[in-house]
């Protein structure tokens, strides 16, 4: 069954039509990259899945956005609970002004978990999952700001994973990182996809090629092409996609 799906999705910021009739289905345990020039709607599309667009005033949505077969925009959906199903990672590493430990524990605490032992165990396994444990195990009580940018970003991924979502949404997760940190995060994405469904927005086409199984190319709010990454990058069906990925655009 498809993990994520959107049917006839239209999205408006005020009067501007940001997403036009987007139909897309994403399988579980795959990495899907959303590519396209700035302002093409790829970030907006990503944010539909944890209803982050709700926070912006004067927006409107038609169509269905579906996670695990449930339309998450239907009436009676608890948004706080919904957001627990998805973890989000942002462009710039943004750890909270707390200790390394507390950053990862945050999601558990705000959801009312108080069992100290449980929290400790979960924090440890999660930090190990993002391959950060050896680097931070001796300074869990120190501020998260003491870590390097790349470490901070992996910590933020751990923070998102601690509440065990099934979907991880990444909005240009490596655009502020150096190449070494970038490749570490990319490696992590490969490992995580066995457990999570990952959707990643990226400006870096090579990154999309390297990390994703499927690629969706957005342009001016339209989904131009969606397909297996290998095919998109060797022989795209649509000429506009080819022009974009080869850099012959506009």
């Amino acid at each position: 069954m498809n993990k994520l799906e959107s049917k006839q999705v239209n999205f408006y910021y005020g009067s501007s039509h940001a997403l036009k009739d987007i139909n897309l289905a994403i399988e579980a345990n795959t990495v899907t990259a959303l590519i396209g020039p700035s302002g093409c709607g790829k970030s907006t599309y990503l944010r539909l899945f944890n209803r982050m667009n709700d926070l912006i005033s004067d927006t409107r949505l038609t169509g269905e956005v579906i996670i695990d077969g449930v339309n998450i925009y239907k009436k009676g959906i608890n948004v706080d609970n919904l957001r627990k199903m998805t973890g989000m990672v942002f462009q710039k590493p943004n750890p909270f002004p707390k200790s390394i430990f507390e950053n990862v524990a945050y999601g558990l605490r705000v959801n009312g978990i108080t069992d100290k032992k449980f929290i400790e165990e979960r924090v440890e396994t999660t930090i190990k999952q993002v391959v950060l444990w050896d680097e931070v195990k001796d300074k869990l009580k120190k501020s998260a700001f003491e870590l390097s940018g790349g470490q901070q970003q992996r910590l933020c991924i751990a923070r998102a994973m601690a509440i065990q979502p099934s979907v991880i949404l990444m909005d240009e997760p490596t655009s502020a990182l150096d190449p070494i940190s970038t490749s570490k995060v990319e490696e992590l994405i490969h490992e995580l996809k066995t457990k999570y469904t990952i959707v990643i927005v990226t400006h870096n086409m090579q990154q999309a090629a390297r990390v994703s199984d499927h690629t969706a190319f957005f342009y001016l709010g339209e989904l131009v092409e969606y397909g297996v990454t290998k095919q998109i990058f060797t022989n795209p069906n649509v000429e506009r996609t080819q022009n974009y990925i080869t850099g012959r655009f506009g």
């Binding site: 490749s183 490696e187 490969h190 090579q206 090629a209 390297r210 990454t229 290998k230 990058f233 060797t234």
Partner: protein, 219 residues
């Protein structure tokens, strides 16, 4: 091992599978030729399909790796070398199946005598060994071993040349069988070609390991 390395590793695995298959094809065609065994020859023609499939698969994978991972330096040379070696191997596979076709068509003891006389089998054996040895050089990234191939290919060329002259002389003595003689010349040339392929492969291995281009440079 990171994701890209494991992709390369997978490619290499497929590739060695293809190589072993082709080497086996060549070896079997040698055996088929030595014993003029039609059944064995038939088998080789059938497995040729498998080689062709692997060839397509490896070409596609090489294309994907270049498109998706933008390999550089040694990785780039590795993939580029693979693409070329793949073509050479496919040709070796063709040679094996063509020799097999020769075996099937020819039921004449005349050929046996001529083949023995021109040392075709000795040449053929050396060509098989070359293919195995150059595969070993590839597996172990051994440039020196690859260099040794060049000398041994000379030996094959030498035999072929001698065989050619001796056949020409035979034709002069016995012009009635000219068609059969020409067929053996073609056979010998095919075997010699298989040896050449090993030499070309060796050049690619040296290119990939040492980043040196040695073709068109004499010896």
């Amino acid at each position: 091992m990171n994701h890209f390395e494991s992709e390369l590793e997978g490619l290499k695995k497929d590739f060695i599978k293809m190589w072993e298959l082709v080497a086996l094809q060549l070896k079997s065609s040698l055996n088929a030729l030595a014993s003029m065994d039609h059944e064995k020859a038939q088998q080789i023609i059938i497995t040729e399909m498998e080689v062709n499939d692997l060839d397509l698969k490896i070409s596609k994978n090489c294309e994907n790796i270049i498109a998706l991972y933008n390999p550089v330096a040694v990785d780039l040379r590795f993939v580029l070398a693979l693409i070329k070696i793949n073509t050479y191997l496919e040709k070796v596979g063709d040679i094996a199946s063509k020799i097999s076709k020769f075996v099937i068509k020819s039921g004449d003891p005349f050929y046996n005598d001529l083949i023995n006389k021109t040392q075709t089998l000795a040449m053929f054996e050396e060509a098989c060994d070359l293919l195995y040895d150059v595969m070993e050089a590839f597996k172990t990234n051994d440039a020196q071993k690859a260099r040794d191939i060049f000398k041994r290919d000379e030996f094959i060329n030498e035999i072929n040349k001698t065989a050619f002259i001796s056949i020409i002389n035979s034709i002069k003595e016995n012009p009635d069988n000219i068609e059969k003689y020409l067929k053996v010349i073609a056979l010998n040339r095919r075997v010699e070609k298989a040896g050449d392929m090993s030499k070309l492969i060796a050049e690619e291995i040296i290119f990939y390991i040492e980043a040196k281009v040695i073709r068109h440079r004499g010896k």
